[in-house]
């Protein structure tokens, strides 16, 4: 089979993995005989037609697979063309793409061939060629193969910058139904093992400077969204728990795209729930950077994120007792909870107000978007001139703001419009405004 065809088959079957970031570790290349370095913030090298960042050469070693996970294109029972790369083909491709600055490194995963151990060994060989033969110091993300021996995972972790084990489904019930060859343990055990190794390694490095680093960019995982009836609350609780227990760097959410008709799953042609995925990323962000807990964002009576309001706005309108906050004196944590004020804006406010008392004009100069924030803040004890705040008005305003922002904004798309047009899926804006006003 020709190389270009292999590349097509094996990138096509890797594309549903949402992780493509190259962030989390900074390594200079100095002194090395080969090439490459890594940049802590990660670098996007291109954006695909679906708007997603392309940072890594994301491919599978092979898409042959012994397992039959229902949500996966590569499942044994699916009739698709199969291919297999040799370790040196992958290494050469990575090096040549990297030299031309197409990519930041490699994201290597694989279907399971012969056995989990054998598969893992093939991946180790690929990474060894890159790291030893080519002295490649660029970014490598490797998928840990569920069921592979811990020693093999250890070797993989020393070669890679980031390791991931995808949990894919947020509940045990869904897992049993859709991934019959995997068990909760075959996923959580390696996750726990990797997180222990990362912790251990931190001490080793302090003790012996030369100790090899184990996955310096940490561990991540992915959940498929919309393939099962699990709620957003279940998903966020699990994410929060994994962040805590396994010190994960990231949880990725991947809207389910039907891969052939199957009884247990949404039928072919079902649109991937992109808005829901977007809301989950927003909520995840609040948990990681804004000091929110999953239970603050959702609770037993509201188990799913509001499609029409971002989770921060939603929290704010349900907590009128916390607002308005005074820009000149509120503490940083509280500023972060104001809709429309992000980390950068909050930092700017805290810096600038040391030198001058801020008014609304100053906020504009600092580049703070007031459209949403005005309903929740005071400057020098005053509301913005002419502003009238009624519950209903605020909700209506925030909803249309969210919709506008998501339509224009980089993170969202034309899909949004069709979501809102579809009256069957979501109530109209007016109905939702009334409903929320009553709730408050």
């Amino acid at each position: 089979m020709e190389l270009s065809e292999k590349l097509r088959i094996l990138s096509d079957s890797a594309k549903y993995d949402a992780a493509c970031t190259s962030s989390g570790t900074e390594r200079r290349g100095t002194g090395g005989e080969g090439m490459g370095n890594t940049f802590a913030g990660g670098i996007c090298h291109s954006f695909a037609g679906d708007g997603r960042c392309i940072s890594l050469l994301k491919i599978l070693m092979t898409n042959y697979c012994l397992f039959d996970c229902k949500y996966c294109v590569n499942r044994r029972s699916n009739d698709v063309p199969r291919a297999r790369f040799t370790p040196s083909e992958i290494a050469d491709l990575t090096i040549e793409f990297y030299r031309r600055n197409y990519i930041e490194g490699l994201f290597l995963s694989s279907g399971i061939i012969q056995s989990p151990d054998h598969t893992c060994e093939q991946m180790i060989e690929t990474l060894s060629i890159l790291r030893s033969k080519y002295d490649f110091r660029g970014y490598i993300h490797a998928k840990a193969i569920p069921g592979a021996a811990p020693e093999l995972i250890n070797r993989l972790g020393v070669l890679a910058d980031r390791i991931s084990v995808n949990i894919e489904l947020p509940s045990q019930k869904s897992l049993a139904k859709l991934a019959p060859d995997k068990s909760k343990n075959s996923i959580l055990l390696p996750m726990g093992h990797i997180s222990e190794k990362i912790m251990e390694n931190k001490y080793e490095i302090v003790k012996y400077k030369s100790a090899p680093k184990f996955a310096p960019a940490g561990q991540s995982t992915q959940m498929v969204i919309g393939a099962t009836p699990d709620t957003d609350l279940q998903i966020l609780r699990l994410s929060e728990a994994m962040y805590k227990k396994y010190s994960l760097k990231r949880v990725f959410y991947s809207a389910y795209v039907p891969v052939g008709d199957q009884k247990l799953l949404p039928p072919a042609g079902t649109k991937p729930p992109l808005l829901r995925e977007h809301r989950l990323y927003q909520a995840d962000w609040l948990i990681r950077f804004y000091g929110f807990r999953a239970e603050e964002i959702l609770d037993e009576t509201h188990q799913d994120l509001d499609p029409m309001l971002d989770p921060k706005c939603n929290w704010a309108i349900h907590h009128p007792e916390c607002f308005p906050v005074e820009i000149n004196s509120a503490d940083y944590e509280m500023l972060l909870r104001v809709p429309g004020i992000g980390v950068r804006s909050a930092q700017r406010i805290v810096t600038a107000r040391r030198y001058a008392k801020l008014d609304y004009n100053d906020l504009k100069k600092l580049g703070i978007v007031l459209k949403r924030a005005i309903y929740f803040i005071l400057c020098g004890g005053k509301r913005m001139d002419g502003l009238i705040v009624t519950k209903e008005g605020v909700i209506r305003q925030l909803m249309s703001e969210c919709a506008v922002k998501e339509n224009e904004n980089k993170s969202f798309s034309d899909m949004q419009i069709s979501f809102f047009d579809d009256k069957n899926i979501f109530p109209t804006l007016e109905d939702r405004v009334k409903c929320l006003t009553r709730e408050m």
Partner: protein, 269 residues
């Protein structure tokens, strides 16, 4: 106290030149209406002064900035000089004047118009240079890597360190078409050159193969059910596309690639 005067400074477009304009402004206790690097033919009703570049003077200004304001402020001014902000030269003069008055506090005076405008310009510069770290595309011709970019700001000085570290055992060339400047890295030495012209050489067979493989990958990795051209455009504006292998297919090469491992890599010596 200095007065605003109906005079325009012309200088040679170098950083030292601009520092000499600052020197002149202090010497004559005057604030020029404008400072400009392109001595245009535009009929001007103001008095015009050509400011000579003199490194003794510029170094005095530079030392003054780092001592009386801060090292960070000096770096900030150097960055500001690379931006494409309109009136950047006048703004830099104003920044220095205010800085010498208020000291290092100037860096945090975000509500001041000059500080604010320059901050935005520098943010735009660093942001653009970050994007280029990803969007630059090299072509290999006989072991030499070359790339062309068309940036708004002069990003090359900000890219040098990154690419030299990354491609330290290669020979490469990055050409900035908008400002006719280039970063040349050869025999482990990097140099920035100005006022030069460059045409990308035609791709050889091996180079064509890799362009094709990359395009194949690019097209395949998109999930068509999630197609979203607007989002792509926001993240990767059209002005970058011209110089990107996957976006500009005017050299479209069709066929298929059998294997790539016949050749050795120039880096393995």
């Amino acid at each position: 106290m200095s007065d605003e005067r109906d005079v325009i400074y012309y200088y040679d477009g170098t950083f030292d030149g601009l520092m000499c304009c600052v020197f002149e402004s202090y010497l004559k206790k005057e604030i020029p209406l404008d400072i400009t690097a392109h001595g245009s033919d535009q009929l001007s009703l103001s008095e015009i002064k050509f400011i000579e570049t003199n490194t003794i003077r510029s170094e005095r200004v530079i030392r003054g900035i780092s001592k009386k304001i801060s090292e960070e402020a000096l770096l900030f001014i150097k960055y500001a000089f690379l931006t494409c902000a309109p009136n950047k030269d006048v703004l830099i003069l104003d920044y220095i004047r205010k800085g010498l008055l208020y000291g290092r506090k100037i860096e945090k005076m975000l509500a001041d118009d000059t500080v604010n405008l320059l901050n935005k310009a520098v943010y735009d510069l660093t942001n653009e240079s970050h994007l280029f770290k990803g969007f630059i595309r090299f072509s290999d011709s006989g072991g030499y890597l070359s790339a062309v970019i068309s940036p708004k700001n002069k990003v090359i000085p900000l890219l040098a360190d990154h690419f030299v570290d990354r491609l330290r055992n290669e020979k490469f060339f990055i050409y900035d078409k908008s400002h006719r400047m280039a970063l040349v890295y050869f025999d482990n030495k990097a140099e920035i050159m100005e006022n030069i012209d460059f045409e990308m050489p035609d791709a050889d067979e091996r180079e064509k193969d890799f362009r094709m493989l990359w395009r194949e990958f690019y097209d395949t990795i998109e999930i068509s059910e999630r197609r979203n051209p607007r989002c792509r455009m926001n993240n990767m504006p059209k002005r970058f596309w011209e110089n990107m292998t996957e976006m500009n297919r005017s050299d479209a090469y069709t066929g298929s690639v059998r294997s790539i491992s016949e050749n050795n890599y120039p880096m393995i010596r």
